[in-house]
């Protein structure tokens, strides 16, 4: 399957689905080291995205158009830290994907733009127990897969797998950014909810591409 506008729409619908399915898990992860709203907030946001998608009169011409709709909707419905962070991620990704279809380099650009957006807003680096710990290895893996000649779907699959490992890697970390940092050492031993939601979203990006 090619990574085109239909893929983008499929990715978004699948994202809404997986967030709804994992709503309670994300709430519970956030309850452990945060304030227990991450699943609720993302679920509210992606429901709104789907509503807007359903209301579209015609299919967008470019992938960036879909991602921009996601960005603005998340920004205005999610709130909390995740709202602006994901909002900016999708906004930057949208700017990088003004095309009807993406080749492998284009997929890399999408993921790198998203990561840059998150870092620009949240000022976190890897190892601080945030979603950056999932996005950053995902971007690296995407680069490697593209360099190795992988297809767009291969690139997404590599990114998704790296995000999963990245999410896992947050468990032993003591948070130094975001709400979990208030817990200091007490945040050790818990999976970061934002890293987990990143893992879920990137898994659907790959699945939507048939990978």
């Amino acid at each position: 399957m090619s990574v085109d506008v239909a893929w983008a729409i499929e990715w978004v619908r699948r994202s809404a689905q997986t967030v709804a399915e994992h709503r309670d898990e994300l709430v519970e992860l956030d309850r452990q080291i945060g304030d227990g709203d991450h699943g609720e907030n993302l679920d509210r946001g992606f429901r709104a995205v789907v509503t807007k998608l359903d209301a579209l009169e015609e299919q967008p011409a470019q992938i960036g158009d879909v991602l921009k709709l996601v960005a603005t909707t998340l920004m205005s419905t999610v709130g909390g830290a995740a709202g602006p962070l994901y909002g900016t991620a999708y906004l930057r990704a949208a700017k990088a994907t003004a095309a009807a279809e993406l080749d492998s380099a284009g997929v890399v650009a999408l993921i790198e733009a998203a990561l840059d957006g998150i870092v620009a807003r949240g000022k976190a680096t890897t190892g601080e127990k945030t979603m950056v710990d999932a996005w950053s290895p995902a971007a690296e893996a995407a680069v490697a897969a593209a360099d190795g000649g992988g297809s767009p779907a291969d690139v997404l699959a590599a990114a998704a797998q790296a995000a999963a490992r990245g999410a896992e890697s947050t468990i032993p970390i003591a948070a130094t950014k975001g709400r979990a940092s208030y817990l200091g050492e007490r945040s050790v031993g818990h999976l970061d909810p934002g890293a987990r939601s990143t893992q879920l979203l990137l898994a659907e990006a790959a699945a939507a591409a048939g990978a």
Partner: protein
Amino acid sequence: MVDVKKLINDPRTVVAESLEGFAAAHADLVEVHADPAYVTRAGGAVNGKVGLVSGGGSGHEPLHGGFVGVGMLDAAVPGAVFTSPTPDQIAPALQAADGGKGVLAIVKNYTGDVLNFETAAELADAEGVTVRTVVTNDDVAVEDSLYTAGRRGVAGTVCVEKIAGAAAERGDDLDAVVAIAERVNASVRSMGVALTACTVPHAGKPSFDLPEDEIEIGIGIHGEPGRRRIPLASADEITEMLLTPVADDLGLAGGEQVLLFVNGMGGTPASELYVVYRRARALLEARGVQVTRSLVGNYVTSLEMQGASVTVLRLDDELTQLWDAPVHTAALRW
């Protein structure tokens, strides 16, 4: 739709319905805008006055909507429960508060609040509203270090809103109001304790699990666990654990004057807050510090959490005068 033991109809509508009730009960004071949700003074912006806006997650009532009115805020922006509001709510509130002299946004230091207000300020700026932001961070439970997102903004925010509100009301310009707000923030410290967790409606279960004989010291106001968990202790002991770091961090010296503010987290009886106040005051007096102003009650809450926080604000003549200046809001009035 109710599967959690609360006086609500549906976790998804509780904030909107509560705002409807608030609007109807205080129609003389406030106007509540729905979709996007924000609260303004009944008359709207005051021409020629610096506007004051604050906001944050819901569940901390009366903060912030209860502080909208003469002498305090011009607008407040309530997010979902414990979730900072979104830029598309905040931006129109900033615009609505502008009386032509610019707007001060008072933001509690949380990543979400800071980011959403940041974006909103850009949006409002694009509409020609000058926005300055003061981020409150009075919670000494959290170190302001490389290893945290910085100290949190908690109950001391009320002091910033009241005093900056009075400064704006007396006609200070934006720079001066910002300076006063920053001065109050620099002079106020807080620390809190939880005896029980609270239950966020959409989560349906307590925000953390706490055994019957343990308490959380150094909590925030979003139902997060505290810095450490200790065995249940007496009110006097607990108060000392809260007051000492607050007073130490302020570096209070004998002869200084302070405002002592004992804040309930929502589910603690007033009688217990006064037991805490009694001890906190005695400890301050033992340091030679004079308590010249007091506030005791539920002002910055975490839903129905049982617990309290102790806030101390270092006073000088100007801050005392501004604290005493008239205020007429749903939750604070004199």
